[in-house]
């Protein structure tokens, strides 16, 4: 327990005065943020609120975007995109091993595929997978690198509702087993509440709300205690619910 707390005190990601703008329009307006190592954080925001911009900045993918500020992130970072982004010309195992080095890489790849429930599909082409399976393979590809930080940009946005629930459970399981820091970008308030231990709301280029969700896992959408968090988050997003 003590080591766990110690881990949490060492920040994995640190943002200081981070600004990003596109053609003079400020998207991120001086963000200060620390993500402790091993924390599961969700980042909520309207579409166009800059949450993807933030994630891409942390991933180091924003070539040619104007901006300032200090940014530190761990060395091993994995990204899961909204589309599974599997190379159509490589078999599933080769996709999982993309960029992996070393002799035992193939073994780790197989293990990662088994972990996401795709054992036996190593030789399949990505075109033969369903949307859910493809996203599982993308998760396996992210896991193989044993990331210290896992960045996920609306990873379940393109999946159907049933598949999404199963993927939520899978992601949480994987997180509990490997304990990377997770930054999950989503526009789905329920997804954020069910999965994350801390939810940030991005409004006008700043962190408008920083909410710790202190509730045991696994969580269900229907738990009344979570309803309070839901209302606070919706209010922060400027949405009022009339019952």
């Amino acid at each position: 327990m003590a080591t766990h707390t110690e881990q949490l005190t060492r920040p994995a990601v640190r943002l200081h005065g981070l600004t990003r703008s596109f053609k003079g329009r400020t998207v991120l307006d001086g963000i200060d943020l620390e993500l402790p190592a091993g924390q599961f954080t969700a980042l909520l925001g309207h579409s166009g609120s800059g949450k993807s911009t933030l994630l891409r900045a942390v991933a180091g993918l924003d070539h040619g975007v104007e901006g300032e500020g200090r940014l530190s992130a761990p060395e091993r970072v994995s990204v899961v995109f909204q589309d599974s982004r599997l190379l159509p010309w490589s078999r599933v195992l080769d996709n999982v091993l993309l960029g992996a080095e070393g002799k035992e890489a193939a073994e780790r790849g197989r293990a990662a595929l088994a972990e996401v429930g795709l054992a036996g599909r190593e030789r399949a082409w990505p075109g033969e997978l369903s949307g859910g399976e493809a996203q599982r393979a993308a998760l396996a590809r992210a896991l193989v690198r044993e990331p210290q930080l896992l960045l996920a940009d609306e990873p379940f946005g393109a999946l159907d509702a049933l598949t999404r629930i199963r993927m939520h459970n899978l992601l949480r399981e994987l997180w509990e087993r490997h304990r990377p820091s997770v930054l999950l970008v989503t526009h789905d308030v329920d997804e954020a509440i069910v999965l994350a231990d801390r939810v940030l709301v991005l409004e006008n280029g700043r962190i408008g709300l920083d909410l710790t969700i202190d509730h045991p896992h696994p969580r269900s959408y229907r738990e009344p205690k979570l309803g309070e968090y839901r209302e606070r988050l919706l209010a922060a997003l400027g949405v009022t619910e009339d019952h």
Partner: protein, 280 residues
């Protein structure tokens, strides 16, 4: 009343329901075995029938059996074999050089801005100049030997190779490039795992165009300036009015063209087996 109503609606449903029929297929359907040979075989059959019926002037178009006999005679006295080997060597050498140059230039132009600035415009300019129009100049530069023939074939080959490979390469989805960055791929691995497989479809289009292109160039070259080769054989036959020899040469060109195209297609289908298209 209720039961009656239910019964009534059941009847209406039954009347509205249609037997489900399979939709009309819009793709051409299953491939026939050896379908590509059907057309050429039909031509041969018609040719044979017309010759047997005596509707063709044997001086203009000799009968298939005459052509076969001539081919046999030319083969047994050794001239045909020499001519075929000479032509094949020319085509193969020029083709290999053009292939390598086209692919390397496409990679250089697609992967670096300097390469793009230097190469792309130059190739487009080269494309606009009819390659066969370069023959006189090349003869003056390189002499009338083998070198200029190989150089011309290489140019005929490299242009479609470059254009198609380059187009496919620049069309690679930028999301895959981003993925390669995220996965920390080295430049070499990026080329091997993303760029090359991503541009293969265009590479094969270029390959099929240039395979036939190299044969085309060869015919012209061997008829203008040569002392051996299939084109030379046909040119000589023209002087002596030997239409059967000309037909032997044409048939060999045709067979070579068809075979090389089929080989490329076969390789293409195996290499690009991950693609499912209308033709599969």
């Amino acid at each position: 009343m209720t039961t009656l109503a239910t019964a009534e609606s059941a009847v209406t449903v039954a009347e509205d329901a249609h037997q489900v029929r399979r939709r009309r297929r819009l793709s051409p359907g299953k491939r026939w075995p050896a379908a590509r040979l059907t057309g050429p075989l039909l031509v041969v059959v018609l040719w044979t029938a017309a010759s047997a019926a005596g509707t063709l002037d044997p001086g203009a178009i000799p009968a298939p059996w005459t052509v076969a006999e001539t081919a046999g005679r030319l083969w047994s006295d050794g001239t045909l074999a020499t001519d075929v080997v000479t032509s094949l060597r020319r085509a193969a050498t020029g083709f290999s050089i053009g292939l390598g140059a086209g692919v390397l230039l496409a990679l250089a132009a697609g992967l670096s801005r300097v390469g793009d600035a230097l190469i792309d415009g130059t190739v487009q300019l080269n494309r606009a100049v009819p390659t066969l129009g370069l023959i006189p100049l090349f003869i003056l530069w390189l002499g009338i030997g083998e070198t200029f023939k190989i150089a011309i074939i290489a140019i005929v080959v490299y242009i479609p190779m470059y254009l198609n490979t380059h187009a496919a390469l620049s069309g690679i989805d930028s999301r895959y490039v981003e993925l390669a960055e995220v996965q920390g791929l080295s430049r070499l691995r990026f080329i091997r795992q993303v760029v090359i497989p991503g541009s293969l479809p265009g590479f094969f289009v270029g390959l099929r165009l240039s395979v036939t292109g190299s044969w085309l160039g060869l015919v012209v070259l061997e008829q203008i300036n040569a002392t051996s080769g299939l084109g030379y054989m046909m040119f000589q036959a023209q002087n002596y009015g030997q239409t059967d020899v000309i037909l032997v040469g044409l048939l060999i060109y045709g067979v070579f063209g068809l075979v090389s195209d089929s080989v490329v297609r076969l390789i293409e289908r195996r290499v690009l087996s991950w693609r499912r298209t209308l033709s599969s």
